[in-house]
Symmetry: C2
Subunit: 180 residues, 2 copies
């Protein structure tokens, strides 16, 4: 999802102005995508340039531009909803990449990177668990779903890290055997 697509989706609900879009975008993404306001305006410029949104000159109080989605915008948005985002190549993930690199090219750092990553994930899991039992509704639906996604992911990643560690220790024992 690009900012562009996100803004289109929001504008599909009705005319909005830039600042409003910023806050709604952040709410909609459950806080995982904090957005610099400036970017909203530049993106809106591009959208306007491409004819996907237009400014409704609806006699405004002051310097407040209101944008609405055009027919073409709706079409592009529709196409985006329909599209299935082709996992080829698969989405890159920082954790995965770094651990991969550490295992085969990290030398003495390999194990440390893995265990540190695990500690981090465990901490995150605990934090989220506490958050969820304590809060309940704070932050809205999106934020709640994000928390759940993050937790599910973290658990999967933890299992994977265990696997990686196993590979690492096997690697080391092989190296020791090989050098005897």
């Amino acid at each position: 999802m690009t900012v562009r697509e996100g803004l289109l989706a929001l504008l599909h609900e009705g005319p909005r102005h830039g600042y409003q879009l910023k806050t709604e975008f952040e709410a909609a993404t459950g806080g995982v995508w904090p957005l610099n306001v400036g970017q909203v305006y530049t993106t809106l410029d591009r959208l306007e340039r491409d004819g996907l949104v237009r400014i409704t000159g609806a006699g405004e109080s002051s310097a407040q531009k209101v944008y609405e989605i055009t027919r073409e915008g709706t079409d592009e948005l529709g196409a985006w909803w329909e599209a299935v985002p082709a996992e080829d190549p698969p989405p890159r993930d920082e954790l995965m990449l770094k651990v991969l690199m550490a295992i085969e090219h990290g030398h003495q750092h390999g194990l440390r990177v893995v265990t540190r990553q695990r500690t981090e994930l465990l901490a995150l899991l605990q934090r989220k668990r506490r958050e969820r039992t304590a809060a309940g509704d704070t932050g809205g639906l999106a934020a709640e779903l994000v928390t759940e996604a993050l937790m599910a992911r973290a658990e999967a990643d933890l299992r994977w890290l265990d696997r990686c560690e196993a590979v690492l220790v096997e690697q080391q024992s092989n190296r020791t055997k090989g050098s005897k």
Copy 2:
């Protein structure tokens, strides 16, 4: 992980030239990061500009520049290994973002996006399972670990999608009740 960091890690194993780095980078990332060769060279330029690598003028056959990591390069690489990549804000994920947006702002598209995403993930899972039982070793360690990471993720994501669907149908029933 940036290309920059990846290249540093590879160069830490010893001097390399650009083309070689490309292939090794792709192998190291288990194929999840296909790299345009050009980018290797531009990145090497920047690394050289920043003094993290240097060209070993070691009397070469022809137009083949060989790069080696410098002291500063090793330092930066070390710092990267030590760093724990601060999940704040959490890594953005296309699947998560799109589903989130679809649920709250997708109108009639919401359910379709979720189910389509699930079909896609199930297909991926099956494909990977087949790959793994059939292949065994093809593609190297990195590729194997990537497959496992992808499968673990996919399973987690599937569970999350179920949760999302539940939210969606609840949402709809509420809307129906509300409009009676």
